[in-house]
Symmetry: C2
Subunit: 86 residues, 2 copies
């Protein structure tokens, strides 16, 4: 089981890193860019014996308690079953 957790700053929080990238892109001639926000993601391989429900519970717990700062960040995640090849 593989999970991807995407973490980004809440809409209401300023993103100076994104602003810097936006300015760089504009100064390099990418005039069609209106805004840039940066985030991070985690690709997490989970024990294949976990059920989808268990995996979901684990991922939500670790996303809330470790991977994000809930004051300024929010997350979403996706689960992907990885086929076991014998």
């Amino acid at each position: 089981m593989k999970a991807r957790v995407f973490v980004n700053l809440k809409k209401s929080v300023l993103d100076p890193q994104g602003k810097t990238i936006h300015h760089s892109l504009q100064s390099l001639g990418y005039r069609s860019v209106n805004d840039v926000r940066q985030g991070k993601f985690f690709e997490i391989s989970l024990d294949p014996t976990l059920s989808a429900d268990q995996a979901r519970a684990e991922i939500e717990k670790m996303a809330k308690s470790v991977l994000t700062n809930p004051v300024i960040e929010e997350f979403r995640y996706e689960l992907e079953a990885v086929e076991a090849h014998p």
Copy 2:
């Protein structure tokens, strides 16, 4: 038009940041985690007058030339049409 560009280290490149997160998670009791790799993403708002083809070309150009280091990183992206509300 909104684009999301996901950048991660190539499989062959060591990810010490991911390893550190993996160890932290394990020491916090998340024993079902087998591996963690970290990446980043960019949420890019594009000029809504661009066609999907133009947007794709722009995004690929900036992903290759600015957003990734092609020696150690690879990227993928998704485009999302944003409805214009008059």
